[in-house]
């Protein structure tokens, strides 16, 4: 019985220890580009929330689609109204895991593979991406790039604008994480 108590106590310590493994930021940058020679389509949000758990190598990401800012107001309206349907699907999120080895103590930039599920417009799709991560005690710097197609997320592009919007959308992410404080 003592052993059991010991185990429970141990796992509680392990649980509490979890918090020290968390790094978080609420103002990560995401920008996306689906420009073509005919039209510049670029937007940026700096209100993404993301967490890295260096214990389990889990990465989570979430952003409100209405937080993306466009140069042209009308484009922003169409993005939310016609393509992302932000009223119905307010959030885009990513849930993944770093699958290649990473030494969180090294403090040197390293390229890693991340596998996960990207959810937007109500559709979840498996994605693999490469990210550059610079571990550190007081901050973790990460940047990643991922290419997606609107079709994969059930976002139809009407034929009238098909030549103006790139087939593949490039999404770039830049985040500087700080240790999570309870």
């Amino acid at each position: 019985m003592n052993k059991l108590l010991l185990l429970v106590a141990f796992s509680l310590i392990f649980l509490n220890g979890g918090a020290q493994n968390l790094f978080i930021t609420k103002d990560a940058k995401i920008n996306f580009n689906s420009s073509t020679p005919v039209e510049d389509i670029v937007a940026e949000s700096n209100q993404a929330t993301t967490i890295i758990d260096i214990g389990s190598n889990v990465v989570k990401f979430s952003v409100l689609t209405t937080s993306f800012k466009f140069r042209r107001a009308l484009m922003e309206e169409h993005f939310n109204e016609n393509y992302m349907e932000s009223a119905k699907f307010p959030k885009a999120s990513f849930n993944g895991k770093i699958v290649s080895p990473i030494d969180w103590k090294s403090e040197k930039p390293v390229m890693v593979d991340i596998k996960g599920v990207l959810t937007m417009h109500g559709v979840s799709s498996d994605v693999n991406l490469k990210a550059q991560i610079t571990p550190g005690k007081s901050k973790i710097i990460a940047s990643a790039e991922i290419k997606v197609t609107p079709e994969a997320f059930n976002i139809p592009i009407p034929s009238a604008v098909r030549d103006k919007i790139a087939k593949e959308v490039t999404i770039k992410i830049d985040a500087i994480y700080a240790p999570y404080q309870q």
Partner: protein
């Protein structure tokens, strides 16, 4: 001994499962907590800055310039000689600009009585949910119309006689993705009216609505009730009074990228408040209706 080993193994398994699942939940709820509470504004309550003829609560955002071309053909009941009105046309050209996200100004010129106009539209309240809850949009419009037509001797005497001012409040709500409704109390002052029976001050209440038929196509209906008691009474000085009607317009908005194309049927010929609220003479009942369209193109001056 065996029993104790079993219990402790079980304990370990449970503890590990608990810690793993608690951990997973931790992260998700932590994400939820960390997302800052945000105000989500209802956007695109109407596709355009006009419902059909009248203003909607929408305006150009900061540094966005809209060029509008509006056109109304003649009345359908003009018959075959005038190709049912299509031979005739009234045009309104306008440039409208968002000085800030809440203030829009515009200038325009119409072939209808050779009117020149200018307006300012202010967004006072924006419908929102989330961190800030607001059930309606509220906008205020003030405009001035100057008739430059040179045939009326009374107007030639005094420049102020050419002026009409419009004060309008727009109260709108986007009920859901498809349906938006607007209530539009309006006060119009005409410095000079053709006969003494016509009112210098006109009160009117407009109701407008849009229903989205698809993502890019919407049906719009707009009606203005105009209070004008005794205006059409027959008197000695006014043996054949002009009969005025309340404007009713039905339109379709078609949006294609940077353009919004509005096509409509309306009994109003004019495209500004002083005209279509104050001086609509077409009657739906006897085919006094116009086919018309508005074309809008938006240019961005944002960096």
């Amino acid at each position: 001994m065996k029993n104790r080993l079993f219990i402790s193994t079980l304990g370990t398994v449970i503890a590990v499962i608990c810690s793993i699942s608690a951990h997973g939940q931790d992260l998700d709820s932590l994400m939820e907590k960390s997302v800052k509470p945000q105000t989500v504004y209802a956007t695109a309550t109407f596709k355009s800055t006009r419902v059909v003829n009248g203003h909607s609560v929408e305006r150009m955002k900061k540094n966005q310039l809209e060029f509008r071309v509006s056109h109304r053909f003649g009345e359908f009941n003009m018959g075959s000689y005038y190709f049912w009105g299509l031979d005739q046309g009234t045009i309104h050209l306008a440039l409208e600009y968002g000085l800030t996200d809440w203030l829009e100004v515009g200038i325009g010129r119409s072939t209808y009585e050779k009117t020149v106009d200018g307006f300012a539209k202010v967004s006072l309240l924006r419908q929102s949910s989330g961190a800030r809850n607001m059930p309606i949009h509220l906008s205020y419009l003030s405009s001035l119309e100057v008739i430059s037509l040179n045939t009326d001797p009374a107007m030639r005497q005094n420049f102020s006689s050419r002026m009409t001012t419009v004060q309008q409040i727009m109260i709108a709500r986007k009920f859901n993705e498809s349906l938006s409704l607007q209530l539009t109390p309006t006060f119009i002052h005409r410095n000079l009216v053709p006969t003494e029976l016509e009112r210098n001050d006109l009160f009117s209440v407009g109701i407008g609505g849009r229903y989205k038929l698809s993502k890019r196509i919407a049906l719009n209906i707009e009606y203005f009730y105009v209070y004008r008691a005794n205006e059409s009474a027959i008197s000695q000085s006014n043996p054949t009074p002009t009969k005025y009607y309340n404007p009713l317009s039905v339109g379709i908005d078609i949006e294609t990228g940077g353009h919004v194309f509005q096509i409509m049927i309306t009994n109003a010929q004019a495209m500004r408040e002083g005209g279509f609220i104050g001086k609509t003479t077409g009657a739906w009942g006897d085919g006094g209706i116009h086919l018309g369209f508005n074309i809008s193109r938006v240019f961005s001056f944002s960096k």
